[in-house]
C-alpha cells in the first residue's frame, strides 16, 4: 500500500529497476507463495505415488483446456467472486469477516421468498426486486457485524461466524416450516420459481449472468477503494484506526458501509444460486462458498481486481475435481487439500514482505 515515497517525491525522473521493484513486491510474493504451495502439494502427491504432472495436466484439461472446460470453470465463478468481496471489502478496513456463508444463505432465501410472492410478475420487475431483497438482507446481516464492532466492540470474526450458524438454522427452520412447498417431499424447499424469474445464461454460452454481475461487482469495488475519497479514507482507517479517528474520518460509518457492501455482494451470490442454479431455496444453499471466498480474498490480498483471476483459477481447480477422481483414483477431497496447502503458503508468505532488499526503495542513495 504505502511504500516509502521520498524517492518518488525527490527524483521523479528516475525510472530504473530500483523504482519498479517496490511496486512488484505485492505481485511477486503472492505468486511465489502460490507456486510454493503448488510445489508442496506436488511433493504430497509424489509421496503418495501419484504424478503431479498428470494432476496438473488434468486440471488444465478439465479447467482451462477447451472452450467447454472454460465454460465449466466460468459457470462456477460467480459465487466465488461475490463471497470473496464479502471478505475483501471489510478487510480493507482491517476487519476479518468470515461469515459470508450466512449472507449467501439468507440472500438466497430472501430471493426465493420474494420470487414466490411475485409469481406471475414480468421478468423486468421480478428479477430486480429479488436481487434487491437478496442484497438488502445480506447487507443488513453483515452490516450488523460491522455495527456491532463499532458500537459495542464485538469482535467481527466471532460475531460473523456465530451469525452464519444462526442464518443456516433460520434457513432450515423457514424452509421446513412457514415457507415450505408441500410438494417438496424428500428435500424441503420453497416453491419452485416461475420460469420468468429464473436468470438465464449468457448468449451462446453455458454460463449464467451471475458471472457478469460478479465481474462488475469486483470492478466497482476496485474503483470504490482505489479511486474515491471513501476508499482512500477506508484505506487509512485500515492502516491505523486511531490515526483515522484523529483525522476526523467517519470510521464508524465506513465500517458499517464496507461490511454492508460486502454482505450485499454475498447476498447477491445467494440470489444467483437460487435464481440461476437451484430454482428454489433449500439446504443446497449451504455449500461452503463463503469459506472458499475467504481463501480467494486472502490469495488476492483483498484487491478486488486480483480476485477475478484468483477466483477463476480456483474454480478451474474445482471444475477438474471429477476428472481427477476418475482418472487418477484420488478422492474428491484432493482439491480441498490443495486449497488448504496454498492458503497456508500464502499466509506464511506475509512474513516475507520487507525482507528482500531489492523490493525496498533506496532512499539513502541520493547524491
Amino acid at each position: 500500500m504505502s511504500t516509502g515515497t521520498p524517492t518518488e517525491l525527490r527524483a521523479p525522473e528516475r525510472r530504473g529497476i530500483a523504482d519498479i521493484a517496490p511496486r512488484l513486491e505485492p505481485l511477486i510474493i503472492p505468486i511465489g507463495a502460490l507456486l510454493g504451495g503448488l510445489l508442496a502439494f506436488s511433493v504430497f502427491l509424489v509421496l503418495l505415488g501419484k504424478s503431479p504432472v498428470d494432476f496438473f495436466g488434468l486440471v488444465y484439461k478439465a479447467g482451462f483446456g477447451t472452450a467447454f472446460s472454460w465454460q465449466n470453470t466460468l459457470s462456477r465463478v460467480a459465487p466465488l467472486l461475490l463471497t470473496a468481496l464479502c471478505v475483501a471489502l471489510p478487510a480493507r478496513l482491517g476487519l476479518v469477516v468470515i461469515g459470508g456463508e450466512g449472507a449467501v444463505v439468507l440472500g438466497g432465501l430472501a430471493a426465493a421468498v420474494v420470487g414466490t410472492a411475485l409469481s406471475g410478475a414480468p421478468t423486468a420487475i421480478g428479477i430486480p426486486l429479488m436481487m434487491l431483497a437478496a442484497m438488502l438482507i445480506g447487507g443488513v446481516w453483515i452490516g450488523a457485524v460491522g455495527a456491532l464492532r463499532i458500537r459495542r466492540g464485538v469482535n467481527e470474526t466471532i460475531s460473523s461466524l456465530l451469525m452464519a450458524y444462526i442464518a443456516i438454522a433460520l434457513l432450515n427452520h423457514l424452509v421446513e416450516g412457514p415457507f415450505r412447498d408441500p410438494a417438496s417431499l424428500n428435500k424441503p424447499s420453497t416453491a419452485p420459481l416461475d420460469p420468468a424469474l429464473r436468470v438465464g445464461e449468457l448468449p451462446g454460452m453455458d454460463v449464467h449472468w451471475g458471472f457478469v454481475a460478479g465481474i462488475i461487482a469486483c470492478i466497482v469495488a476496485w474503483v470504490l477503494i482505489e479511486r474515491t475519497t471513501w476508499g482512500f479514507a477506508a484505506r487509512i482507517a485500515g492502516g491505523n484506526i486511531r490515526a483515522a479517528q484523529v483525522q476526523g474520518l467517519p470510521v464508524g460509518r465506513l465500517i458499517v458501509c464496507f461490511t454492508a457492501a460486502g454482505g450485499a455482494c454475498a447476498g447477491l451470490a445467494g440470489f444467483f444460486e437460487v435464481s440461476a442454479i437451484h430454482g428454489s431455496a433449500n439446504g443446497s444453499l449451504v455449500s461452503g462458498y463463503g469459506y472458499t471466498g475467504i481463501l480467494i480474498a486472502f490469495l488476492a490480498r483483498h484487491n478486488p481486481l486480483a480476485i477475478i483471476p484468483v477466483a477463476i483459477l480456483l474454480s478451474g481447480f474445482e471444475a477438474s475435481s471429477g476428472l481427477i477422481q476418475r482418472r487418477m483414483d484420488l478422492p474428491d477431497a484432493t482439491i480441498l487439500v490443495l486449497e488448504g496447502i496454498v492458503f497456508v503458503a500464502i499466509l506464511v508468505s506475509e512474513t516475507l514482505y520487507g525482507r528482500f532488499r531489492i523490493f525496498t526503495p533506496r532512499a539513502e542513495e541520493q547524491p
Partner: protein
C-alpha cells in the same frame, strides 16, 4: 428393562443424557482452546484438528483393534496441527486468525483425503460406564450411560483450573497471555510458551474428535462434525476463559443441541433447528451485552487478538 411411557418427563431426561453425550467433544475442544487462548493466541483451526483427530483416531483404532490407541493417535495428530499453528504464528506479520482458517481447511481436506477407505469398516468403540443401574427404566439407563472420556474430561477440567490458579506453569501461561513484555522481562520466551500451549490445545481437540468417531455418533464419515471445533472458540468466550466454566458451557451447548431431538421424541417437531441455534444466539447475546468499544472483555487475556 422395559420401555416406560414417561410423558413429558422424557424431555429433561433425554436432555441430560444428550448433554452428557454431546458435550464431551465440546468440552475437550474448548479446554484446548482455553489453554491456547490463555497463552495469548487464538487457534480457529481446531475444527480441522477435530475432524482430522476423528479420522486418525478411527483409522488407528480400526487398524490396531484398540480404541484407546486410536485416542492416543488422535491426540498426537492434533498436537502436530497445534505445533504447526504455533510455529507459523511466531513468524512476524502472520495473522493467527487467518492461519487458523487455513488450517481448518487443510485439516478437513487431509481428513477426508485419508479417511475415504475408513467410511465403511467398523472400529472398536470406547467403553462407557453405566450409572443407571439403580433404575429399571430403560430411558434412565440409556441417559446415564457415561463414556470414560467424559469422566476424564471432568478430571482435566478440575486439573486445568487448579493449574491456572496455583501452579507455576499456570502462572507462566497467564503472564504470557496477559503481556508479552512482562513475560519477556521475567526471562520467559513467549513464543515457546505459546507453541506448547497451542500444541497441547491441539492434542485435546484431537481427543474430542476421537470421541465423535469412536463413541458418539461412533463412526467416521465426512459429515461427522457439525462445527463443534468452531463453536468451541465461541464457547471459550462464553466461559470467560475459565476451564470450570468451559465444562458448564459445554454441558449447556450439548443440552441445547439435545433439546431439539428430545422434543421431537415426544411429538413436538417444530422449531427443531431454532433450538439447535440456541447456543449461537446465547453466545452472540452475551458478547453484545458484555463487550464495550472502550475496553477489552472482562477476564480476557491481554494479548488475545480477538478481544484487544
Amino acid at each position: 428393562m422395559n420401555e416406560t411411557d414417561l410423558g413429558l418427563w422424557a424431555v429433561p431426561l433425554a436432555m441430560i443424557g444428550g448433554a452428557i453425550r454431546v458435550s464431551t467433544p465440546f468440552l475437550f475442544v474448548s479446554l484446548g482452546e482455553c489453554l491456547t487462548e490463555r497463552s495469548g493466541r487464538i487457534n480457529l483451526g481446531l475444527e480441522g484438528t477435530l475432524v482430522f483427530g476423528a479420522m486418525s483416531g478411527y483409522a488407528v483404532a480400526y487398524e490396531s483393534g484398540s480404541a484407546w490407541i486410536g485416542v492416543l493417535a488422535a491426540a498426537l495428530a492434533g498436537m502436530l496441527f497445534g505445533f504447526f499453528h504455533g510455529w507459523v504464528c511466531k513468524l512476524p506479520k502472520v495473522n493467527d486468525i487467518a492461519i487458523g482458517i487455513a488450517l481448518m481447511l487443510l485439516g478437513m481436506g487431509l481428513a477426508f483425503f485419508f479417511g475415504k477407505p475408513y467410511v465403511q469398516p467398523q472400529a472398536p468403540d470406547l467403553p462407557a460406564i453405566s450409572f443407571g443401574w439403580w433404575s429399571d427404566i430403560s430411558q434412565v439407563q440409556a441417559a446415564l450411560q457415561v463414556n470414560v472420556l467424559f469422566l476424564i474430561g471432568i478430571v482435566l477440567t478440575v486439573a486445568m483450573g487448579w493449574m491456572f490458579r496455583t501452579t507455576r506453569i499456570g502462572l507462566i501461561v497467564r503472564v504470557v497471555g496477559d503481556s508479552t513484555d512482562a513475560a519477556r522481562s521475567m526471562g520467559l520466551n513467549p513464543n515457546v510458551v505459546r507453541l506448547l500451549a497451542t500444541g497441547a490445545g491441539g492434542a485435546l481437540a484431537g481427543v474430542g474428535g476421537a470421541y465423535l468417531s469412536l463413541y458418539y455418533p461412533g463412526s467416521w464419515n465426512e459429515g461427522l462434525s457439525s462445527g463443534q471445533g468452531l463453536m468451541a472458540v465461541a464457547l471459550v468466550i462464553f466461559a470467560r476463559w475459565s476451564p470450570v466454566n468451559c465444562f458448564w458451557a459445554a454441558l449447556l451447548f450439548g443440552g441445547a443441541g439435545a433439546l431439539g431431538p428430545a422434543l421431537q421424541s415426544v411429538g413436538i417437531s417444530s422449531g427443531y433447528y431454532l433450538f439447535y441455534a440456541a447456543p449461537y444466539v446465547l453466545t452472540l447475546g452475551l458478547l453484545i451485552a458484555t463487550s464495550s468499544p472502550n475496553r477489552a472483555l472482562e477476564s480476557a487475556p491481554g494479548e488475545l487478538s480477538i478481544t484487544k
